[in-house]
Symmetry: D3
Subunit: 64 residues, 6 copies
């Protein structure tokens, strides 16, 4: 505890490495606690599996 | 917000496309809100990773 | 299976009742399967616990 | 209901089979309820997607 | 890692205590690993927030 | 997208406000993307609902 879960589109391993480090630092800086106890789980989501406004992202012309 | 997550066995892309559209419509029709704000995340689950009654689905004779 | 989870701001019980019925219908209509097997879990989220753009919703002037 | 979700590193199918059976038994023994109603969802997590102490597991010398 | 999440209807604290102990034992017995690393998160769900077959549990005559 | 979920023990509203701001900044700094698209959901967990090593946190002498 705490557990931080991130659902995002595909990123590089270097980005995930940096993300884990910086999210952990952000948590300790604002909420305190033991850095080692902070767990992070990253889930990369395919653009065929995420929709907004009723439309699958992969079907949109402009993918954000 | 809202976020709707669906965990289900494998479906075709066309089924996922229709599902995203219809779940979004169902939400707006019953709870109101801005259609664009509705996010849907689909997770397809392997039959080796889902169990009921203590038995993995892939091990069952009759898979529903 | 499937499991549909909805995270949304507070709604009335009547809205939740209608939502459960209509999400279930939307699933059966687009993906098939046994209506009885469809499980829905609703989580109502406090506006102090949801943020976008780095700002907690309860702190925003315009809450959507 | 209930739904039990397990996030863990990769295991063999035999381990997952045993896990589903034993988690279900543990639930019935301590909380009662209908065995058939107990659903289990297993998610195997890649060591590149899990971090503790701000460090991705795959980057650690000692992986637990 | 691993993280085990349980979503269930309300139980007593004694049931939750026993559940945490037995789920942990079930995991170690079938998948191995360090007992201390096993995290369990229990979420008690209101019968107004869970539906099957399109009907909220609190609205059903027979609640399982 | 992305969605960041944080499960943690109870914090003050000021801590949650700071946490949302800093997690969002950490994401943008390491993974890029549109700040406004970053959604954060905070879930505060009771010490009766979280266990490690098979023991509910509220039952432990030393709560971390």
């Amino acid at each position: 505890m705490p557990v931080i879960r991130v659902e995002m589109f595909k990123r590089t391993q270097e980005q995930k490495r940096n993300l884990a480090r910086e999210l952990t630092a952000a948590f300790v800086n604002t909420c305190g606690g033991n850095k080692e106890a902070i767990k992070i789980l990253i889930t990369e989501v395919d653009k065929n599996d995420w929709a907004s406004g009723g439309v699958i992202t992969a079907d949109k012309k402009d993918i954000i």
